[in-house]
Amino acid sequence: MATTEETQKPDAATATDEETATLEVFRYVPEEDDEPYFETFEIETFEGMTVLDALIKIRDEQDPSLTIRHSCRMARCGSDAVYINGTQRLACNTQVREVGDPVKVEPLPRFDVIRDLVVEMNEFYDRMESVEPWFQPDHEPETGEEYLQSPENRRNIDTVLDCIWCGACTSSCSPAATDSDFPGPAALAKAYRFYKDEREGEETRKRRLEMLESSHGIYRCHTQFNCTEVCPKGISPTEAIMEMSRDAVKEKLRFWR
């Protein structure tokens, strides 16, 4: 008779082997390789091991040429966003055993590859800059005064403040892939952060909205929620974009003012 322990089904991650995992890693050096390829690595895993841990282990023990961008290792810097088993994720925030076996690791789709898992981020930063993501108040405060913000207003923008510029959302966005004039979800969520900030004043708010209303601005969002699904910080750029779109149309509907 089978014991309770024996009849329990092992979970997917440990079904093949509790000690090892297979990583299929995208490899490409544009100056040397004709085309990209996947290289398979077997590694010993431990409870709580992240994909970044695994990649660093491979680099340290098996192939020192494996290239990945990383810094804080705690989902704060956003530098290690990659494509793991078909989803944009932070390598440092994804456990090897929770994504199944094998673990397929690729660079962020729709970004140019510099080497292996490292992508060119300049185009992404240009998109971010296009929405002027910096504080632009209408008026300077009186001498000695501070820019005061109400707690309610702060709570309104709380949701989008956590953006770490990892690029996962922009990588997942269909219109951003084909339309280089579209700022993309990260930039528009950042624009929302300033658009909703009451300290900037009404004039700046209207100017920002006019800028975002360009023919390749907020109205290009397809409301697919891809960005919302992949954001490692739980931000919903789609909702921010839709709120700005509704506000812009409401302004137009008040044409008698």
């Binding site: 800028m211 360009s214 390749h216 149309v249 137009k252």
Partner: protein, 144 residues
């Protein structure tokens, strides 16, 4: 981002959504009348003329034979609105998808005018077919 302000983008975005909602209602009505009530053997030239000119809907339903005599103008309005909204929604949607391709942006103006002219032509064609169900007004109209 292209920062050139657009006066029409907001209105078009709004109309695209408004026509989308309207299409759900109109298509629901269209499907109910044409596919769920009528029944294939009731789709005859006579029944179609009756439906379009007098709003008389006859057909089968799981509950039995159905006869709905709705105001003719309501049925006609729903048909014309369905035609107009579906053309706008479909054409504007396709135009936008094309305009999101970097390679096609240089053809923006010609494509815009092509879609406007094509949409108007489709609408006129649809209205002409619709009017064909009525006696030609020039045969009815007697100036004497």
């Amino acid at each position: 981002m292209s920062t050139k302000p657009s006066k029409t983008a907001g209105w078009n975005w709004f109309l695209q959504r408004a026509t989308g909602v309207a299409l759900v209602v109109l298509l629901g009505f269209h499907f109910a009348v044409e596919h769920f009530i009528v029944g294939a053997h009731h789709i005859t030239a006579e029944n179609t003329v009756e439906r379009i000119t007098h709003g008389l809907i006859q057909g089968d339903h799981v509950l039995g034979q159905i006869t709905i005599n709705m105001p003719a103008f309501l049925y006609q309005a729903s048909a014309i609105l369905l035609l107009a909204f579906s053309i706008f929604h479909g054409m504007y949607g396709v135009y936008n998808i094309l305009m999101e391709q970097d390679a096609l942006k240089k053809y923006r103006q010609p494509l815009k005018y092509f879609f406007i002219v094509f949409s108007i032509a489709l609408f006129i064609q649809g209205v002409l077919i619709f009017l064909a169900f009525f006696e030609p007004f020039w045969e009815i109209y007697d100036p004497r």
